[in-house]
């Protein structure tokens, strides 16, 4: 099992995180080859020592853990496999960590696989970075049967012998097909690899933008449809952006549901871009009289005519008045 870097998001994780990682790896009986990436570089303190210590002390199983701390071949005897690992020693390594592969002599009879972490030149990545760049011709240059790459969170093929497997579990709302591992089969040295994408994600990260078109019920129904999909709601992470104008009654209904969704979902983040526009119906529904009626009229005027910030405050005040009046009516 090759992990092409960034096993950990931070070089200084908490102890529980390390233990969880070790525990998660333990069911697999074969060797794990972990490559330090830019988030968990080789010289980033005691991280890898701590992981090895955790692996040694696992009570449930023995973990065959091989951490590629240096740029050198790692021999996997059972598989007649030689891994040429190019770990990042630091977060930003100006030196090409894969450079040594081209000069490494190929051992006969062994499948030769490169393991690296970084952005392929001329492709994707952070773009702005001049560090951790990998030459896309590396498989040919270093006579590799396959080059396993990490850093890109989505699953992506760069060539016939070079792939980003992506993260096995998505960790952000960016939609670039994360949540897979690649099963790579190579029959013999020099043979083309067969690559199979295996979905592994347990959680879904969904970004959704909903435009309110005057019907709060329709908007609520669309969110409910997402929640009732194949993925259980407690494994859904929803990034919900709401836009458009809404009357106070509709706003109250939506807000009531948002709290309910928040309880049901694994995670809910709402970008509330709804603009409150009190409708005649709102005001009628309030059945305000006298002072309250006059105050509501003034707030409605402020909500429609003031500066953006003042308008928002006036809308909120109006919403408060609406809710207060509702409560009073309900409680008699």
């Amino acid at each position: 099992m090759l992990v092409a870097g960034d096993c950990f998001d931070s070089p200084f994780p908490e102890e529980g995180t390390i233990l969880k990682a070790a525990d998660a790896m333990s069911p697999f009986g074969g060797p794990w080859v972990l490559l330090p990436g830019n988030h968990d570089p080789a010289e980033a303190g005691p991280l890898w020592d701590r992981l090895e210590h955790a692996a040694r002390n696992l009570a449930t199983a023995k973990l065959d853990l091989r951490i590629a701390r240096k740029g050198e071949p790692i021999r996997i005897d059972d598989a007649s496999l030689e891994i040429l690992a190019a770990p990042l020693r630091h977060r930003h390594d100006p030196v090409d960590p894969t450079a040594w592969m081209a000069t490494s002599e190929r051992r006969p009879g062994l499948v030769r696989v490169g393991l690296a972490h970084g952005s392929v030149q001329g492709f994707g990545g952070d773009g702005e970075s001049t560090f951790n760049r990998i030459d896309p011709r590396l498989p040919e240059m270093a006579d590799l049967d396959y080059l396993a790459l990490g850093d890109w969170h989505g699953t992506l093929g760069i060539g016939r012998r070079c792939w980003y497997s992506g993260t096995p579990e998505p960790d952000r709302f960016r939609s670039n097909e994360p949540g897979h591992v690649l099963v790579v089969e190579i029959d013999e040295p020099g043979a083309l690899p067969r690559i199979e994408r295996v979905p592994t994600a347990e959680c879904r990260w969904i970004e959704e933008t909903l435009e309110h078109s005057g019907d709060a019920g329709a908007l609520i129904a669309r969110v409910e449809a997402i929640l009732s999909g194949s993925t259980p709601a407690d494994r859904l992470l929803l990034d919900l952006t709401l836009a458009g104008e809404v009357d106070i009654g509709g706003r109250a209904r939506i807000e009531a549901r948002i709290e309910e969704w928040r309880a049901r979902l694994c995670h809910l983040r709402v970008h509330d871009g709804l603009i409150d526009r009190p409708s005649d119906e709102d005001l009628r529904e309030l059945r305000l009289e006298g002072v309250a009626q006059a105050a509501a009229s003034r707030l409605a005027a402020m909500a429609g005519n003031g500066e953006e910030e003042d308008s928002e405050i006036a809308r909120l005040a109006l919403r408060r008045l609406y809710l207060m009046q509702h409560r009073i009516r309900e409680t008699g």
């Binding site: 200084f12 005691p46 701590r50 006298g290 002072v291 105050a295 909120l316 005040a317 408060r320």
Partner: protein
């Protein structure tokens, strides 16, 4: 409208035994009575009848009971309200109430309840110890006690609500209703969740909490970020330290420097050996060089010795010639000297004889002169002795005449003062002039006869016997007589005393003596002048010494000399002096010549001696040097010396060549420079080792720190804290907006509520503004919407608070407000309690009083007004009039 029709009291306070007022009119009823007659008791009784429970046993009931009695107060009141008539009979005892309504006759609690419902004072309950506004409903506002009319008319809360309800109804305007109130209360509560009453964020409010939470998380975040950065800094340092270690290991500078040091040390060893060898050669060379130099010096000394011997031989020959010449010359000089010496002796003897002769002549002449001088001096001394004797005599005379001119002047002054005093006495003395017709005698008291026609001055009482007349007693009595007499006597005594002291009888005698003394002193001065002239430059002592000296010189003179010269005829002193001068000149010339000869002789002798001495020394030296040369030649002949010198030179040159070669070799291997290089290398190796050890320690330390700190999960905690902080920031912004919204809502509701209340009070204000200028010209009213009271008036656009107005104005305003409210109630509710004024308007001036009466008269058209007053005449013609004394029972 509620109207009172009959009031009857029994056993009530000072109105005992009773009072009945019947037939009260709809409008104004003026009830007059003197002070202490019971007007206030009547008003108190009305309050008790309506608002004090009949079974009450509290302070109010006790106040109602006639003083000093245990009578039960009883009050009957007939009244109308809502167009119906009621008869209330209340005795303040158990079951002492009955209320006759149009429908039924009620008793006890039913009657009280009905009364409460009719008068609408249920909110506050019944009064016990005192009447407050909540105990009396709106009646409390319109029944004004004595001395309280000037207080601000401020309805109680329930009355305010009732008034507000009535006013809202009038305007057909929904103020807020119960929902409105609840909305406002809720808005106020929500506002209070965020803000203080002064509009600042509440310290424990939701906004502050949200801000504090954000600040705390921000602080945590910054702290973790700082720790993370420090940790990453340590990582960076560790990476650099390791890279440095690898680099230094790669460079292998320590080992290379060690090898260099070893090589340098070998070179130093070799250089030291060569340096020793060179030192040895240098010593050998020094010896060889020394040998050559010694031999060369020997050869050189030998040649010099030869030259010296030759020079000495030449000098000896030259000196011998010189000695012979000098001997000849010395002999010639000796001979010339002997001749000149004989001539000199001869001249000197002749000259000596002449000089002796001249001295004898001169001594004789001098003796003659001294003897003459001695005689003259002796005469001079004798004359001076005579003068001295005369001076002694004159001095004795001067001592006998001691009165001087100043003494005479003092006496004359004293005499003048005494005369003046006497003249002053005479002026005031009694002067008697006896002019007898005949020759009668005038006998003074002491028997002295006084001549006639001559004045007699009297200073003291005196008596006179006048012949033919009898005794005359005279007592002088002029002013100041005694004083002037004492002064005269005192001055006269002073004068006498001075005369006695000088030993004279009168001033003239003293003057004579002073003139004599002057003559003596003039003689003394003259003798002194003469004496000084005679002495000249001498003093007596020097004169004596001169005489003694001359005498001694004469005594010492040589008598023989005097004798010889006295007998020689050729001994002319002038001739002798000329001859002596010529002889001395000749002798001097001869002496000069002789000294020249002597010098020549001495020089010749010295030159000869020197030449002989030189010749002797030269001979001795020549012998010595010749002997030394011979010794040298015999020790080493010239040929042997040349051979030795050649061998030594050859040896020295060989050694020098070897030395130069070694020195050249050592120039490139300077041991001191090599030592310097070795020391430098050692220091560098030590520094490199120190750096290496320090770096290793640093690496170890950093690795340990990173291991410890990295194990704390700072990175992950920082990520989590940042996420929490971002969420808290969003929450804070949301809460901030919510807080602003709550504030805005509360403010808008409050403003609308106030505007609404302002509208509510408009009818009252309108009424007041119609009436106010009638009483107080140019005044406008500001009616407080919060408590339905007049808070200020405005005159000439200037606000004047109610409390700052005069008592009279306040009283008038209060009554106007009550009348306006009562009229409003009547118009809107159809009901208004009667207005009762107990001794009101007592502070009004005449004009204001008349205008207030006009207002009361107009109000009396619609309202029942009871005016309790001690000045009923002031209200004459205003309405129905009662006299309290006429209404008393029994």
């Amino acid at each position: 409208m509620m109207r009172l029709r009959r009031i009857e009291l029994r056993s009530v306070g000072k109105l005992t035994p009773g009072l009945r007022i019947d037939g009260l009119a709809d409008g104004i009823n003026v009830i007059g009575g003197d002070n202490e007659e019971g007007k206030s008791t009547l008003l108190f009784a009305l309050r008790c009848a309506f608002f004090l429970n009949h079974s009450s046993n509290g302070a109010l009931r006790k106040q109602l009971v006639p003083a000093g009695t245990s009578l039960t107060p009883e009050i009957d009141i007939d009244f109308e309200t809502g167009g119906r008539s009621y008869a209330l009979a209340k005795a303040f005892r158990r079951d002492g109430i009955s209320l006759q309504t149009p429908a039924a006759a009620l008793r006890g609690a039913d009657a009280e309840n009905e009364l409460e419902a009719l008068l609408d004072f249920g909110d506050g309950g019944r009064a016990k110890s005192r009447f407050a506004s909540e105990h009396m409903g709106l009646s409390g506002l319109f029944w004004i006690d004595q001395g309280t009319a000037f207080e601000r008319a401020r309805p109680g809360e329930s009355d305010q609500r009732r008034l507000a309800g009535l006013l809202a109804a009038e305007m057909d305007h929904v103020v807020s209703g119960s929902d409105g109130d609840r909305l406002f209360v809720e808005a106020e509560r929500q506002h209070g969740e965020f803000w203080s009453k002064s509009g600042r964020p509440l310290s424990n409010g939701r906004l502050s909490e949200a801000e504090q939470r954000y600040d705390q998380l921000e602080e945590t975040c910054l702290d973790l970020q700082g720790r993370l950065e420090r940790l990453e800094g340590k990582l960076d340092r560790l990476r650099r330290a390791r890279a440095e270690r690898e680099r230094t290991l790669g460079e292998n500078r320590e080992s290379r420097d060690g090898e260099k040091l070893h090589a340098v040390r070998e070179r130093i060893e070799k250089a030291r050996e060569r340096r020793n060898e060179l030192a040895l050669l240098r010593q050998t060379l020094r010896v060889a060089d020394n040998d050559v130099r010694t031999l060369e010096e020997r050869r050189q000394r030998r040649a010099q010795q030869r030259e010296l011997v030759q020079e000495l031989l030449d000098d000896r020959e030259r000196l011998e010639g010189e000695r012979i010449d000098l001997g000849r010359k010395a002999c010639a000089i000796e001979e010339a000297f002997a001749g000149d010496e004989g001539l000199y002796r001869k001249l000197r003897e002749g000259l000596g004889m002449k000089k002796r002769r001249l001295r004898a002549i001169e001594a004789n002449e001098r003796r003659q002169r001294d003897m003459a001088s001695l005689d003259s001096l002796r005469r001079q001394r004798d004359g001076i002795a005579l003068l001295n004797q005369r001076l002694v005599e004159l001095d004795g005379e001067r001592r006998d005449h001691r009165i001087e001119d100043k003494d005479v002047a003092d006496l004359r002054n004293a005499e003048s003062e005494a005369s003046t005093a006497r003249a002053a006495l005479d002026v005031v003395a009694t002067r008697l002039v006896f002019e007898p017709d005949a020759d009668q005698r005038i006998i003074a008291g002491e028997g002295e006869e006084k001549p006639p026609r001559q004045p007699v001055e009297l200073l003291h009482p005196a008596s006179f016997m006048l012949e033919g007349f009898g005794r005359l007693h005279v007592t002088p009595g002029s002013e100041g007589l005694g004083e002037r007499e004492r002064r005269w006597r005192k001055l006269d005594a002073i004068l006498r005393e001075r005369l006695d002291a000088l030993g004279v009888a009168s001033v003239e005698e003293a003057h004579e003596q002073a003139l004599r003394r002057q003559r003596i002193e003039a003689e003394i001065d003259r003798i002194h002048t003469e004496r000084r002239a005679r002495l000249g430059d001498f003093t007596v002592e020097t004169l004596e010494r001169e005489i003694a000296g001359l005498q001694a010189a004469l005594d010492d003179a040589d008598p023989a000399g005097i004798e010889r010269t006295s007998h020689g005829e050729e001994n002319d002193p002038e001739r002798l002096r000329v001859e002596i001068a010529a002889g001395e000149e000749e002798l001097e010339t001869c002496e000069e010549r002789l000294r020249g000869r002597e010098q020549e002789r001495h020089s010749a002798r010295e030159a000869l001696a020197v030449c002989e001495a030189k010749s002797g020394d030269l001979g001795t030296r020549l012998e010595r040097e010749t002997e030394r040369l011979n010794d040298e030649l015999s020790a080493m002949p010239d040929a042997d010396l040349d051979t030795s010198l050649g061998e030594a030179c050859e040896r020295r040159d060989g050694t020098a060549s070897e030395h130069a070669r070694l020195e050249l070799a050592l120039r490139d291997e300077d041991p001191s420079l090599l030592e310097e290089e070795a020391a430098h290398l050692e220091r560098r190796i030590e520094e490199l080792a120190g750096d290496r050890r320090q770096r290793e320690r640093l690496i170890e330390q950093l690795a340990t720190e990173i291991r410890i700190e990295g194990g704390e999960g700072i990175g992950e905690r920082h990520d989590n804290a940042r996420a929490e902080r971002d969420a808290a920031e969003r929450e804070r912004d949301r809460v901030r907006r919510e807080a602003e919204a709550a504030k805005l809502l509360y403010r808008i509701l409050d403003e609308e509520r106030r505007r609404s209340r302002d509208m509510l009070t408009e009818p009252v204000r309108t009424r007041l503004e119609r009436q106010l200028p009638f009483v107080i010209p140019g005044a406008g009213a500001f009616f407080d919407a919060d408590d339905f009271s007049l808070s200020e008036i405005r005159r000439s656009e200037q606000p004047e608070a109610f409390e700052t107005l005069s008592i009279g104005t306040r009283e008038q305003l209060s009554i106007m407000v009550r009348l306006a409210l009562a009229e409003l109630l009547l118009e809107q509710d159809g009901e208004a309690p009667p207005v009762i004024l107990d001794d009101a308007l007592v502070y009004a001036d005449e004009e204001r009083f008349d205008r207030m009466k006009t207002l009361l008269a107009r109000a009396g058209r619609s309202l029942q007004i009871l005016i309790l007053t001690c000045r009923p005449r002031d209200y004459a013609g205003l309405g129905k009039s009662y006299r309290l004394e006429d209404c008393l029972l029994g």
